[in-house]
Symmetry: D2
Subunit: 394 residues, 4 copies
């Protein structure tokens, strides 16, 4: 099937099958709506649209990053989009690194059921006691003990841990290594390993959440796993984390573009319909016209920049695209926040309610400016990379 | 007691008695914590600090608006502050208009128990089917039938209706009046009146809430109340609404200043303590220094402007202070949003959680730019008032 | 020659031949430096790079809009760029409409010497007594008198009139036409026509200017020109003005992108070199890193959006690209202002001086947010076009 | 005379005597208009309003800082205001430090004619080769040679040096002192001292300027002056510089408030009068209403903050007011830039011209965010002072 047909079909599916879910099941816990979502997943599989981001040999559509970016923007319009196509974070990233770095046995045990949507997974990196903006500042450790690693440490914001079959955990295996980028490893820890203790689902912006839609605090208390559970080689944890970053960035940023497009539509629809007084609609107000125009401009900019970065990654690889990858992170996250803020302002009191999906996005997507590196880290990084050409090291 | 001693005592109370509640009861429904709050209210009464905004003859401290503004900034530092001193919206506003416009019988029945904290009340104005930004665009009606008014209509965002003893309802009593500012009346409707139907507590930014901390959708289905329940005279609804506006604005804006001060303290405390790497704290980052400086500047500006407006209202009345009253609304609401946003960014992942109070303020105080007139309405209003001096009518 | 070779050659020329002019002749009046510029123009002709935007049959390089956009960004890096390649405003626009709407005789008399760079021209539209943001609100009139039109009116901001051989003047020829878009015509008025009175070169941001680099106030006092001097047909003035708009927008916006790139380079160079204290350069400051990153992001966004619009105009025409054409106007003009402001802040006191070119751009390019429609007009226009899809007419 | 009468009289004078000068002499070099200005100065003296900031015993009005701040806001409305009252920078600052630190002989020679307006002076601190944002990073030196100091160094942005009778020069007298704040001294250098070489008046934002309205680059080439020309004691240069800072800040910031008020008036006047189409004025546009409201709010905030700082300095001294003094610098400078930018946007093409005074302010007052410490320095300073209370040293 030609790509643009695929894209149109996915868009059609999102609008006809997923939009209606918002009024039907939104606000219920994620765990409670798995049956409904499973039906939708089955439909996606039947239509041959399952795991679009995954290479053909692994059962996906084999889209390039530039193509999948466009799919992600369509899926992002619904809070159920990525999940129903099995390309939601963090599973999508976990699939990628298992494809690239997994041993045949790891792929058999962990990757295959993940691709099939039979299990979910999580990625356990951030720690409450260390600034997430510094990825080499970490305490969780895996100590060799015979043929096993024994993992101990304290993580949080392990998204989707509630109900996951396994975690990929970032741990120090060589904390004293002089090269701070070689201290960490990524290691597979099944959720039924003794010592894998989910302390709580963290209440985030008023919601504890459940299932995939949750963020757990986890204590790893002497979790014993075989050495064979290490991804790639010991010490490669940081490098593998980098690897998942480029594509993940495109996924996220285009998901945000999708949210923006949806919020933009809602803003326009409401402004065109809501009367200030008989016959005079909100859209007649110049302030609202300004927001529509500014939002349209910024969303266009965001989309073009992410697709440009995707094309560059497809063509030249992640390393050469580092500036673009950092730029889209802070640029798009800020566009997202502005567009959502304006959409809420247009909706007035209604925008504050959970009668529309805007309020949920407003509060949960505030995290976009924080996770995967806060704005400030990316800005400094861009500046440092740019300044290299000016013979200054800072 | 001299005012500055009162202020210091209140601040002391807020810090020692109310701050600790945040870790103890925050996140529980308001209804579930009434017993704890009632204890605190008793302490406030014992210390002679009860209803500070109310004239001495009615049992309050008789503070001027300029003084109460400063109290409100102190109380605003805790989400429990205003409630524990019985000066929370909308009860404080209802007390004021009952004092000014209530008949002796209305005061006996409604005002006294309100002042004593025995009952709560609500103010029912906003309608889902009409833009709240246009206060004369409204459908709820009260029709005369014998000695009674029969109230029918559809309201929402009636805050604190859940558990209130009565509502003051904004209704059209003369919808065809050529003077659109004389169409409405305010009328007292006891909550046990047949036809007073709370449809739901609206889920707002992820929380349904309960008790005082809720926003209800209400259908008034032929609620019959005596004519004597009208406040002031029929047709005075709009004028009375204006009356409550000036002091209410000072209360709210200074409450926001209080929130800002608290968020500012939290931001500084966290920045001073959180390490990016061993020995290097967040506060060493220039971006964070910028936010601290900009926040300090903006909060100072907000505080000075509100107190200046309060002084002017105290001295020259509301009418002459219309420009200032509108300016502080949009200026302070925007400072509040910026300061909270920065405080969350400084806290990183922690800022997204409900482990601090910031996330709750971030989402619920988004409404500050909407209720009591969105930014845009106040800006246009200021411009129109300013331009009067330039001989242009727009 | 393949396009990218052309582009590289032009960039090389700009850097080696035009950059040095800044320290040599910058600050002198334009009229005084024509000899130097004429030398450069001769070099451009010799290298076969002359009038790149013009079709091959008229002696140009026949670049598409998408290609010329990229050239314009390179030329924009120098204040002498467009002029030396004879693609400066308003001549470039005048060439375009003479090619499209000129009669053979008009082309012989006006177009050919213009293409050859033997004469200059101007475009006389804006009037001091009417808001330029409303292009159909105009007083200058051309009255038929026998075979002639007699033009009378008051214009200003006729750029480059000082020394121009002719003006294309926007005049009402049918002021009472019910269709306000058919009232105006464009008419060729030679500068030696009696009654063509340049009142003054307007002092703009501290500079009166001269020659091409000037903005004149002109009184047309019964200028008599033959009917044959009308462009296209009488009444087509507005339509022709629209015609020049799309390409002109791309030229301008990419010129601004070029200015931004140059300012960005200067900002980085200075930040990398200037010491705050021995060994600690400006670039070490996070605020400056933020500006570098934000500028890089915004310039990338601007470039991608303009090129995307150019591609769309090339492919689908101006009419279908109206939203994009308006968006790039306000978006790029604002990026330009922000980037220049940051570049000046980085340069500190030096940025205020005319020792660099930044200060000149800072003040003269402030006009970018005003000419060809102020930001506000374009925003409202975008909103109206977007809202058409939402069944609302405003 | 009671202060408010003084203030009203000054305002009256500014409006009736100084406003008209703008259309009469604006755009001419400052040197060419001294005769006109001298007439106005004579009038000011006759009315007993001369040097209002100076203590009564020295012939001034003895206003407090809080009072003079209000005067400065009135004078700032005209570009001729401060000059005509002899309280213009840098003379006002020089007067202050001569009063406080001058010897009787210095006061006789330098202060008295300055107070009388017979001579002008300059303050020579900034150096082209060192970042002005770091005041202890400086190369100019004064070497003891017998009873004399021999001053050598390179300064620029010495405002008003052209025609000044003397300079107060910041020099290192003890460059190796371990305490970097004790390395510098301030020293009086008469302009006729051999070796006092004004290289040029720097072209700033398109204008070379002359007389008081100029910024010179100066080479001090072995300027020999008696030791007695040191202000205070050797090594006190930095401390004295600090001393002039607080009052100078109030003067400047209130001057900016005055500029803002004038720009605001011009913006409102023009918006109320300029027609977009017959009968529809600019002021009817909501975007312009927004700017009017936001400007009114920000100017009010700026004024209240500066007056609050002035009151604090009057009451508690500069040291305790350091946070406020830094805050008003960056806050007011940014308000100034925003208000001027909006005023120009409202004026459209006219705003770009020198037909109004806005364009001159727009370009020259861009320096407000740079001189006396750029925004970034003040923000970091505020943050550091605030964070002291949080037990962190950064």
């Amino acid at each position: 099937m030609e790509f643009h047909s695929v894209l149109r079909e996915i868009e059609q599916f999102v609008k006809s099958e997923l939009y209606p879910l918002e009024s039907q099941v939104w606000g219920q816990g994620w765990k409670d709506i798995y049956p409904v979502l499973d039906e939708k997943r089955a439909m996606v599989k039947n239509r041959g649209l399952w795991i679009p981001q995954i290479p053909v040999q692994w059962g996906g559509l084999g889209l390039s990053l530039h193509e999948f970016g466009q799919v992600s923007a369509v899926l992002g319009r619904s809070p159920f989009g990525h999940y129903c196509f099995n390309c939601q974070a963090p599973d999508a990233g976990n699939m990628e690194i298992l494809i690239e770095f997994g041993t045949p046995s790891q792929q058999e045990l962990y990757l295959k059921p993940l691709l099939e949507g039979k299990i979910r997974s999580c990625f356990s990196m951030t720690e409450p006691n260390h600034a997430g903006s510094n990825p080499v500042h970490m305490s969780t450790e895996a100590k060799l003990d015979g043929d096993d690693y024994v993992v101990s440490g304290h993580k949080w914001f392990t998204s989707g841990a509630d109900g996951a079959a396994f975690a990929i955990v970032m741990v120090n295996t060589d904390a004293q290594n002089e090269n701070k980028y070689e201290r960490a490893s990524q290691i597979l820890v099944p959720a039924d390993t003794p010592g894998f203790n989910i302390i709580r689902n963290i209440s985030v912006m008023g919601e504890v959440g459940s299932g995939w839609a949750s963020h757990s605090e986890i204590k790893y208390d002497h979790c014993r796993v075989p050495q064979a559970n290490v991804l790639g080689v010991p010490g490669a944890g940081f490098r593998i984390a980098q690897q998942r970053l480029g594509p993940g960035r495109i996924h996220h940023c285009m998901r945000w573009v999708g949210i923006c497009e949806r919020a933009f539509e809602m803003m326009c629809t409401y402004a065109a319909r809501r009367e200030l007084s008989p016959g005079r609609v909100l859209a007649s107000q110049q302030s609202i016209q300004n927001w529509i125009a500014e939002s349209r401009a910024e969303i266009n900019a965001a989309r073009l920049m992410v697709l440009d970065a995707a094309r560059k990654i497809d063509r030249e690889g992640q390393y050469k695209s580092r500036i673009e990858i950092s730029i889209i992170k802070f640029f798009c996250a800020n566009v997202l926040q502005k567009v959502l803020d304006r959409a809420i302002q247009v909706h007035g009191a209604l925008g504050m309610t959970d009668d529309t999906i805007l309020a949920s996005w407003y509060r949960h997507e505030r995290a976009a400016r924080i996770y995967d590196g806060p704005d400030e880290v990316h800005k400094s990084r861009v500046a440092r990379l740019v300044l290299k050409e000016y013979d200054v090291k800072i």
